[in-house]
Structure formats: structure tokens, C-alpha cells
């Protein structure tokens, strides 16, 4: 966890004026202790009260017994990125309790398991001891079940301490356990017992309160991997091959659920899809490429190590021009790294993934809505461009719970790309060649096996425009030059970057993906705290459209915000934009595995702008 040195300047100590709908609660537990239910109930209850909220689950890369932190941020302005400072700590884990308490800013509040006796640690915090075991014993006679409902008690305590409607908590609980009356009833008991204990024993000395708002009306709570899975289903995916890996697995697993429900043929009860758990990532991408070649909309989902293993096949897709969609739910680190932490660390490697001259298209979702829409766009693009398309999500988007506006039903029909049909074959006749650029966009026409269209032989080795084997220098150069032109065409097809600008902005900011939310908040901080007006361009795809170069040209200083060490997107900008713009671009980097926060951005920009 991040560790600001606790300076106990009385000035900062417990503010008396109430702080409404603007604080972060962090629950520290042990994973496998079933705290997830309690945390989601807390999150959802605040959401249901109309207060913008976000949850970040910081869990270890094992299954049970190690420290886990779940932080919930409520913010009336709608800020949903991670906030560095914890305002309200629920300390349930003996192993981390001390450090968790020591890293708090002065004046913050702590609910803790009484036996941990934390209040002796610091005198500049507000402590609320709670005898969880005593309380749980009262509500649950069966000792085995106690472990599971124990956590529900802190929800009850917080209901009192933070003023969260018990009714909303009960409703949220019903949403989770509705189908399990016994568990439901047990947890309700724990919830009420916690509330009761707090009302009778804890006198509120902290300023944090939740009050009803109307800023979440009609919205949903969802995880990015669910949103992406829905996108794939509505994109008409027919073949999915995957291999389990954190944080990607929940995407195909969600897809399986959705497809079983919504993609079984009504008439026959048969499946309109095939989902295969492959033996590894190489097999997964191989199946996807085989299926894409045969005309299916095919996808896989993985994370860094899988992207590395797919390198050879990525080059085959690029050079033999076979559609394929790959979701990279990015996690931290080179090698196996930190599987349960978030990063944007595969950007540069993925763009040039595979030996030889290759370049790949990447989509960069920032929101739940874009996880949904870009999943659909990725299939259109990969069939249109006849190449592999990566959707670069990350653990923060994919596995955390986010607010979102309900997804719009897609209006556009599928774009199945240039597949030769009767009409076209008549037009082109014998002159058809699998790798001929007949339309001037460098995208050739393909044919599918099992149709009356002319056959061709696909290979990753040298070939000419007619798809015949060739080692001729001129054939090779023509083909590679066309592929480069095709990448130019891609610039006109990918979703353009989005501009948000303050009036008379003096500096530019570029960001993408999950960094978006911290950037939005960071820009407000820069404007309100330092008077810095910024223009913000949010990248949504690689390669970059002309709008990106135009934006950079407008400013002497453009800050590229990203969650990796090596300034990977800035690197691609340096390679692809007018070289004379290189000096204009600077980096704001965050790569400790935690979702990036607004303060890191505004601090870094202020420092580089030398503004106090």
C-alpha cells in the first residue's frame, strides 16, 4: 500500500465540519474470508442512495489467507478514480492492522476488531473498537457459519457511523443473496446486530457522512470483463478459445454464462457458438486464427504472459491477413509479475508484437461503456482490416466494480469486411487475387472455405498477390508495402481520440484506458488548485488518427499519462508523429500496481510546470 509519512500536525487533525459524500472507506481483511459480499453490499447501498461510488479490490495472487484491501470511494462530484488517502479504515486483518493504521493521515477514523487493540498505536486518529466475535456469536449459533457472516457486522456498524440507510443495505444484500433465503436471513441478522451495537456503543466523532443524492439514477454497476463479454456476444462472436489467467478469466467465463442464456438457437436448442478452454495460449490463438480464416468471428482473452506466447501467431495473422480479436486484460510486470495488480504495461510490446516488420491495431477502452462498444468494434475492424486486433483493457477496468450508464443496443449492422461474393467475383473475374489491392485501400478480398468462391492457399511464408508461394524480392516488397498502406487505412477506421478542453488551455494532456478517470479529476485539481488550464486528448486506438498530431502541435508541453515505467504510449507517439513534435511531449508515469490516482497526476504536472 502507498505510505505517506503520518505527520501529526494538529492543523490537519479531525475536522469538525461534516464531510458529506466525499470520502474513502477501506476494508482490510483476509482473502477467502467472504468479505466480498459485505463490501459489495456497502458499495451498492451507497450507490442506491444516489451517491457516485467506485470500488477497488486489492487482492493477493493466492486463494485464501493473505491480506486483501477493498476501498470504496464515495464522491458527490462523481470522481471514481482511486483516492490515495484513506479516510475511514475498517481493520479486520491482524496481519496488516498496524501498518494500515500507521499509514493513515491524522484525523481519520478506524473501526477495528476489539482484540487488536489498535487505539494504543496513535492518538491522532478516531478509533471505534467493535467486538466482532461477541456480536457474531449472538446472531449465529453455528460456529462454522460465523466466519462467513462476521464481516456483515461491519456493514451494520458503518450503516450507523456513516449514515447509510439500513434499508438500502438490505436491498443490496437481497440482490446478492436473494436466492439463498438461509444465508440471507443470517446476514440480515448480522447487519442489524452490527447496527444495533454501534447505535448503543459508538458515539460518532468523525465528519464523514453519506446523504441522499440523485447522481446515480438509472445507472448500473458492472465489471469491465462483464461489459466486454456482453460486447462480444452482441458482436456475434461465434468462436472463443481461451486459457485461464488472472485478470482475464472472468471475461470468457462471463461470456459462457451470457451465451448459454442468450445464444442457444430457440428452435433447436443448439448452440450458435463454440467456446473452448484451450490447452494454452498458443493453442487458443491458433484456434482463433483457424476460425477467423474459416469465416467465424473469433476471439481470445488473456493477459501479458499470454500475449508473449502468442507472438508467433500474431505475425501470422498480420502477414497472412487473418482476422483475430485478442483481449489483453493487462496486469503488472514483466514475466509472471503481480497477477492481481493493474498496469498499462503491454502497449509498446503489443504494437510491434512478433519478429520482422509488424504493426498491430489496438483499441483502448476507458469505461464500461467502451468495454462494451469496443468489443463490438474490434470484430468489425479485424474483419475489415483482415488482421489481429487487440483490445487493451486492464485489471482495474476488468475486475473492479464501476458505475455505468446502461449500454445502448447497437444500431450498426456487423461489418464482415471484404469477403468475395458472386457479384464481386463477376466484377473481378479471373483477375481476383487474394492479396491484390483492387480498391486502393490496400485491403484485399478473401474467400471462405465451404463456399463456391475460388479457393486459395494461405501461408505465413513468402507469397505474391495471387497467394502463390514466392521468394521474389519484388513480390515481398510489394506485399510489405501494401501492408504498411493497410495500416494507414486503419488510421481512418479506428475510433478517433476524444478532446476535452478548458477555455484557453495552456498545456495538453494525453491519456488512455483506465487512467482517464484520474486525469479528469487531476485536471480539476490543476485548474482549481494551481490555475492550470488544460486540454485533454483521450486516445482510443492505435494507430493514431491525424487529430493526435494536430493536438500535440497545438501545445509546447503535452503530458502523456500512463501506467507503466517505460512511457510506452509516449514511445509510440514519438515514433509515429512528426519528429519535430518529440520535444513537446513529457511523461507522467505511475507503475506501482495500484490504479493511478488524480493526485499523482496533478502533483507531477505541477512539479514539471514548476507551479506551486
Amino acid at each position: 500500500m502507498s505510505s505517506p509519512s503520518p505527520s501529526a500536525s494538529p492543523a490537519e487533525a479531525a475536522p469538525s465540519t461534516p464531510v458529506v459524500n466525499d470520502f474513502t472507506v477501506q476494508v482490510a481483511t483476509v482473502n477467502g474470508s467472504g468479505s466480498q459480499t459485505a463490501n459489495l453490499v456497502l458499495l451498492r447501498a451507497i450507490f442506491q442512495m444516489g451517491v457516485p461510488v467506485s470500488g477497488k479490490n486489492l487482492f493477493p495472487s493466492n486463494i485464501a489467507g493473505l491480506p486483501t484491501w477493498f476501498s470504496i470511494r464515495a464522491n458527490h462530484r462523481g470522481y471514481i478514480s482511486r483516492k490515495r488517502e484513506v479516510d475511514f479504515l475498517v481493520a479486520m486483518n491482524p496481519e496488516t492492522a498496524k501498518e494500515d493504521v500507521m499509514t493513515l493521515e491524522p484525523g481519520r477514523a478506524v473501526v477495528y476488531d476489539e482484540p487488536l487493540n489498535l487505539k494504543s498505536l496513535r492518538d491522532d486518529l478516531i478509533f471505534y473498537p467493535v467486538p466482532f466475535d461477541k456480536i457474531v456469536a449472538g446472531v449465529c449459533t453455528d460456529a462454522k457459519l460465523r466466519r462467513l457472516v462476521r464481516n456483515m457486522i461491519y456493514d451494520g456498524v458503518l450503516s450507523h457511523l456513516l449514515g447509510i440507510d439500513l434499508a438500502q443495505m438490505e436491498k443490496a444484500l437481497a440482490k446478492q443473496l436473494g436466492k439463498k433465503p438461509k444465508a440471507m436471513q443470517l446476514n440480515l441478522g448480522a447487519l442489524e446486530a452490527g447496527k444495533k451495537f454501534a447505535e448503543e456503543n459508538l458515539q460518532i466523532r468523525h465528519p464523514y457522512r453519506v446523504e441522499h443524492l440523485n447522481k446515480t439514477d438509472g445507472q448500473i454497476l458492472i465489471e469491465g470483463n462483464q461489459a466486454a463479454a456482453m460486447g462480444c456476444m452482441f458482436a456475434g462472436v461465434t468462436v472463443c478459445a481461451w486459457y485461464p489467467i488472472t485478470p482475464s478469466s472472468s471475461l470468457p467465463e462471463a461470456l459462457i454464462g451470457y451465451m448459454r442464456k442468450h445464444r442457444m438457437d430457440k428452435a433447436t436448442g443448439k448452440a450458435t457458438f463454440a467456446i473452448v478452454q484451450a490447452e494454452d495460449e498458443i493453442a487458443a490463438i491458433g484456434m482463433v486464427i483457424g476460425a477467423g480464416w474459416a469465416g467465424a468471428r473469433a476471439m481470445t482473452s488473456t493477459s501479458g504472459p499470454g500475449v508473449s506466447l502468442m507472438s508467433e501467431f500474431a505475425g501470422l495473422s498480420y502477414y497472412a491477413e487473418v482476422p483475430a480479436v485478442v483481449f489483453d486484460i493487462q496486469r503488472v510486470g514483466p514475466s509472471t509479475g503481480l497477477p492481481t495488480r493493474t498496469a498499462q504495461g503491454d502497449i509498446l510490446f503489443t504494437a510491434v508484437n512478433s519478429h520482422g516488420d509488424t504493426r498491430h491495431v489496438m483499441l483502448l477502452p476507458s469505461s464500461m461503456e467502451e468495454c462494451f462498444t469496443m468489443a463490438m468494434e474490434s470484430f468489425d475492424l479485424s474483419e475489415r482490416l483482415q488482421t489481429i486486433v487487440y483490445v487493451m483493457s486492464d485489471l482495474d477496468l476488468g475486475m473492479n466494480t464501476w458505475m455505468a450508464h446502461p449500454f445502448k443496443y447497437p444500431e450498426q449492422p456487423f461489418d464482415r469486411g471484404k469477403v468475395l461474393d458472386e457479384a464481386k467475383v463477376k466484377e473481378l473475374g479471373a483477375t481476383w487475387g487474394r492479396y491484390k489491392d483492387v480498391d486502393g485501400d490496400a485491403i484485399p478480398y478473401r474467400t471462405l472455405p465451404g463456399t463456391p468462391m475460388p479457393a486459395f492457399f494461405t501461408r505465413g511464408s513468402g507469397h505474391n498477390a495471387m497467394a502463390q508461394y514466392s521468394e521474389r524480392a519484388d513480390d515481398y516488397v510489394q506485399n510489405l508495402d501494401r501492408l504498411a498502406r493497410k495500416f494507414e487505412t486503419a488510421k481512418t477506421l479506428v475510433p478517433p481520440a476524444i478532446l476535452e478542453s478548458d477555455a484557453d488551455a495552456t498545456i495538453g494532456i494525453i491519456a488512455y484506458g483506465s487512467s482517464h478517470w484520474a486525469v479528469q479529476e487531476g485536471r480539476d485539481q490543476l485548474r482549481e488548485e494551481a490555475g492550470l488550464k488544460t486540454a485533454y486528448l483521450r486516445l482510443r486506438a492505435y494507430p493514431f488518427g491525424p487529430e493526435v498530431e494536430a493536438f500535440v502541435r497545438k501545445f509546447d508541453r503535452v503530458y502523456v499519462v500512463e501506467q507503466n515505467r517505460d512511457a510506452q504510449m509516449l514511445s509510440l507517439l514519438r515514433l509515429d508523429l512528426d519528429p519535430s513534435l518529440a520535444p513537446n511531449m513529457r511523461s507522467v508515469l505511475h507503475y506501482d500496481g495500484l490504479p493511478i490516482d488524480a493526485r499523482s497526476i496533478s502533483d507531477s504536472v505541477r512539479a514539471q510546470e514548476q507551479v506551486q
Binding site: G218, Q219, I220, I222, M230, M233, F234, G236, T238, V239, A241, H262, R263, D265, T268, K270, A271, T272, F273, A274, V276, A278, E279, I282, A283, I285, G286, M287, V288, I289, G290, A291, G292, W293, A294, G295, A296, R297, A298, E312, F313, L316, P406, F407, Y409, P413, F414, T447, L448, P449, G450, P452, A455, F456, F457, T458, R459, G460, Q468, Y469
Partner: protein, 350 residues
């Protein structure tokens, strides 16, 4: 050579049941060495698909990388083909056959492509019993990279430079049986009649047909001391008994003394007649098959013929319970759920 007049169950005609001539089943000109066993196998594939009257537009060809893997370009020109990457043909074929389960898939690999870099995918292909004719053109070496030993090279076999192989070979047939392939055979590129019958039976089978065809590399592994040379293989080929295949569209009745022959009814109604050897051999029992493979191997011999077959075993594609229309060709209205499906999903998240 397909104009040969040596008697085969189906006497060759000028055209087959689709009215096509043999020549129409050919591919581009081979770029393999003259005399390479792989070329003979391509010829047999052409014969088999011609004689079975297969519609080539219903066929997909697959391969990995190697001299052997080049060969799909040299047969069945009217079929789409995919020469993929080294050792990964099984996954590519799996994806393609899921995308279009109505197609007949034939893959050609090499002993290096399958036994070395590709053995992981091979294991899982066999386990899935994917409906695919999977041919290993087995020369015990890496032809295209100039003759290094492959994992099927026999212990003690000599390379051209005199070096001796000191690792035991992987028996791809034993592996396939152990892992669940439902049609396992071994043949020799030089045995036209046997290979042709096996290939025709394979075309009638639904499940993985793993056919290991010993196919000498005349350039790098056909010398004295090699156990994959034409000479050695001819001397050590232990034929498991004659194979007669009668396709469903011919009504020939084959008569034999009871007990002398095993009759197998194929998935498509064709019949396979396997003449038993003295020691009665049951091609539907895995353990007998494995014992026979181990024993012949110990004697330094190659058992060729139908080694194991189960015409009714479940296969991966059928187990997917797919709609009739190939997934690749499903229209949007069958693959994009309606608006109320989305509304339901959204409602559950409110």
C-alpha cells in the same frame, strides 16, 4: 501412377461418381525432392479423394511447417488450404472445423512438426478426437532443415554424418491410442494399396484419424544405418493383414471365412474388412494394440495397417452441440441477440 491397374476394391474409372477426372484432384507442382516419400503420399491422397468422389469444395487442408507441411499445396487444388506455423496445425484445424463443422478436414504434418515442437498440441488433438485426418509424413528427421534427428528417430539409427541417435523414439501411434484418437493406423509411403485403403477408410470416419506414414527422406535419411530408409523399412514392414474398404456408395459384398476377418461398419455406412493375422488381433482393444506396438518395436519392426479403430467414439465437434448452419455463415439475426436481451442484462445490474 493413379492410372495403375493393380486391383483395388474400387476399380479405377476415367471419372468418379461426381463425374470428375483424377487430374482434377491434383495440386500445384511439387517442390520436394524427386523420390521423396511425401510425394507418393500426396499421390495416394489424390487417389483416395478421387475414388471416394469427395467434393473438394467441402474440404479444408491444413499443415504446419516442413517439407511434409508444404505438400497440401500439391494436392486438391480446388480446396482451401492453410499452411500455418511450425507445430501448431492442430489448433488452427480445430478452430477452422469449429467455424465450419460441415467440412472435411485433412492435415499433413511431419515427425518433427508433430513430435517435437508440436507434441503438446498433438496430445490435445488426440484427446479431443477432433474429426480430422491427421497424417504424419514420418521420415525420422527434419528434412527442411537438412536432416537433424526428429523425436521419431529410432535409438541407434545413424545420421548421414555417422552420428548415432541415443534417445528412444516417440511412437505416435501408441501415443494417439493412449490419448483417445479413434482411428489409428501406420503405413508406408511405398505401400500404395495399403495406404490408399487406409485413407479411404479415414475419409469415412468421424473422429481423429491419426495416420503415421513412414516416408523416407531420400536426401538426408535414406542411407545404410538409417532405420527410416526405403531399404530398411521394406525389410522391416510387418503388415497387420490386408485391408479392404467398401465405400457406402458401392454395393460390393466381400465374403470371407468367419473368424478370418474383422468387419467394421463405418460412420458413413462404408465397410472396412480387416484380415486377421495368425495371432488374432483385435483392432478395437487398446491394450492389444499397445502390446503389439511395443513388441514389434522391440523387434525393430514397423507394424503397418489399421492398428486401432472405434467408429463410434464421441468427437469434440459433435460434443459442442452446434446448430446446423456452419458458425461462420450464421446471419446477424442468429448471432446478435435482440434488444430485450440487453435490457434484461442491464436490469439485473441496476
Amino acid at each position: 501412377m493413379s492410372e495403375t491397374t493393380t486391383p483395388t476394391p474400387v476399380p479405377p474409372k476415367k471419372t468418379n461418381r461426381l463425374g470428375l477426372e483424377l487430374a482434377q484432384y491434383r495440386g500445384s507442382k511439387t517442390t520436394l525432392c524427386a523420390g521423396c516419400g511425401h510425394n507418393a503420399i500426396s499421390e495416394r491422397i489424390i487417389d483416395a479423394f478421387y475414388e471416394m468422389g469427395v467434393d473438394q469444395k467441402r474440404v479444408m487442408k491444413f499443415s504446419g511447417i516442413g517439407c511434409s507441411s508444404k505438400s497440401p499445396a500439391y494436392f486438391l487444388n480446388p480446396s482451401h488450404g492453410f499452411n500455418s506455423v511450425h507445430g501448431r496445425m492442430p489448433s488452427v484445424a480445430t478452430g477452422a472445423l469449429l467455424a465450419n463443422a460441415s467440412m472435411l478436414g485433412i492435415g499433413v504434418s511431419g515427425d518433427g512438426d508433430t513430435g517435437a515442437i508440436g507434441v503438446g498440441q498433438f496430445v490435445h488433438l488426440m484427446r479431443r478426437n477432433l474429426p480430422l485426418i491427421y497424417i504424419i509424413e514420418d521420415n525420422g528427421c527434419y528434412g527442411l532443415t537438412k536432416g537433424q534427428f526428429s523425436p521419431t528417430a529410432d535409438m541407434g539409427s545413424k545420421a548421414k554424418n555417422g552420428v548415432m541417435n541415443d534417445l528412444p523414439p516417440i511412437d505416435t501411434c501408441a501415443l494417439a491410442i493412449e490419448l483417445g484418437a479413434s482411428f489409428v493406423a501406420r503405413s508406408f509411403s511405398g505401400d500404395k494399396k495399403q495406404l490408399l485403403s487406409i485413407l479411404k477408410a479415414a475419409i469415412s470416419h468421424r473422429g481423429t484419424c491419426m495416420i503415421d506414414v513412414i516416408s523416407p527422406c531420400v536426401t538426408f535419411n535414406d542411407h545404410e544405418g538409417s532405420t527410416k530408409s526405403y531399404a530398411y523399412v521394406k525389410d522391416h514392414d510387418e503388415v497387420l493383414g490386408e485391408i479392404s474398404f467398401v465405400p457406402f456408395f458401392e454395393d460390393i459384398s466381400v465374403d470371407y471365412e468367419p473368424g478370418s476377418t474383422t468387419e467394421v461398419k463405418m460412420h458413413d455406412g462404408s465397410h472396412l474388412y480387416l484380415k486377421k493375422l495368425a495371432e488374432d488381433y483385435n483392432p478395437s482393444d487398446k491394450i492389444t494394440a499397445l502390446r503389439m506396438l511395443h513388441e514389434t518395436a522391440r523387434r525393430g519392426e514397423f507394424a503397418t495397417g489399421m492398428i486401432y479403430i472405434d467408429p463410434n467414439q464421441d468427437n469434440f465437434v459433435d460434443s459442442m452441440n452446434l446448430v446446423e448452419t456452419p458458425l461462420a455463415f450464421l446471419p446477424q439475426d442468429q448471432t446478435r441477440p435482440g434488444k430485450q436481451a440487453l435490457d434484461e442484462l442491464m436490469e439485473a445490474l441496476r
